[in-house]
Symmetry: D2
């Protein structure tokens, strides 16, 4: 398993009238975390895109357990468990930094998509090799 943790300070614009982080922002937190996780692996999403391949989200799930508040420092963890064939499943956990209590969990599945051909493709070999290396 490859695990990456991104830290995010909750911003005022992300908090609702209850002073809780509004639920849609967790989905944005997930995106930042996987982008940085892939960069850390050695896979820049921007480079992939410049080669005509995008990785759209095909499904998404979140379970909200406890609220996060303004100015909290969150630790968002993304876990990758397998070298992708056609899809990249990612599991998420959100906590306050340094605390055990789960605030939310999530799951996102990405696929690989060739923009010019307009269709899903298997994981490019270069991408598979990167995953195999970090998952070893």
């Amino acid at each position: 398993m490859y695990t990456y943790t991104y830290r995010h300070r909750v911003r005022y614009r992300e908090c609702d009238p209850m002073s809780y982080v509004y639920h849609t922002h967790y989905v944005d937190y997930f995106e930042v975390t996987r982008t940085e996780a892939l960069r850390e692996m050695g896979l820049a999403y921007k480079t992939l895109e410049e080669n005509g391949i995008i990785m759209p989200v095909i499904d998404l799930a979140v379970r909200y357990k406890r609220p996060a508040h303004y100015d909290d420092l969150l630790a968002i963890t993304a876990s990758f468990t397998e070298a992708p064939r056609t899809r990249v499943p990612i599991d998420y956990e959100v906590r306050r930094d340094g605390e055990e209590t789960l605030l939310a969990t999530g799951h996102v599945t990405l696929c690989f998509f060739n923009v010019a051909r307009g269709r899903p493709i298997p994981a490019p070999d270069a991408v598979r090799r990167i995953f195999e290396r970090v998952l070893r």
Copy 2:
């Protein structure tokens, strides 16, 4: 079943470099649609909140099937199948207005939460009656 459809024109700020609606905005579309669905039923979320009761999202799932584009007029349908005891499950479908093809489906579960007591509560009687009336 009680079904409500909200129409939304896709905005430039919602579209990503592929000219697709960025995936997190569907979660916002779901919120607008259920707020207007509840208002149509006779249940203003604002009134509920003024009475110390909020309805937080406890889980959320989306399946993305086909992209939506800039300036598309979307029809987002929310379906309510049962009078709530403690939770309100809602199913969503997203299409281009007037078309059959599904762009995305989703599911959201809300609960009822008493702010002063800081804990989940059963559906208030007034809310249950509203649902029973529209689901008949």
Copy 3:
């Protein structure tokens, strides 16, 4: 002067811990209002873009006078005072629908930009004619 009013229901996600509309969302309200104003004039921004011309924002100003709240129905008015040569200046006023009191005022300047050539261009004749017709 050509004036167009767009009505917008304030959403929960737009409100901050003070229950006020967070200030950045007014800038989004301005965008929706001018897009719909241009459409009403007979100018679809999407068509312009398909012809390789975009209208980027080159400056922006907002004065916040009084807060807007969750579930308020806002009336956002965009005023166009001249047929554009190279720039489109737009003035905005934000009120609660049916009320006189100003909540905010704003100003946005757009220009015309040829994407292929990578440079600003004068207003296309077709666009100028549309403005001249509605400003008459």
Copy 4:
């Protein structure tokens, strides 16, 4: 003058169909930058708010000069030039990190507002002293 620079990686959700950062996000960048600037000075906005004082934005201006792109690392600089009496004027500059070229400039004015009394107040002494110390 007190100057603070915040670095921000441009996210996919912030980019529009032209692959440019959509203009409203600069206003969010300004907020993050001043929050971290105030924290660095020794002034946590959260503490102020817990004491019943908020600092709403009363006006805002942005000039957009050149586009920022996906995955750019931006350096957003906030400059404070005076110890506040009733208002906090802040000047902004946005560049790619390590580059001289200005992408955007901005100005934001904050005031101090007593929530319980519902009215603007002069800068609290503690806040004034913090500014006087860092501006020396």
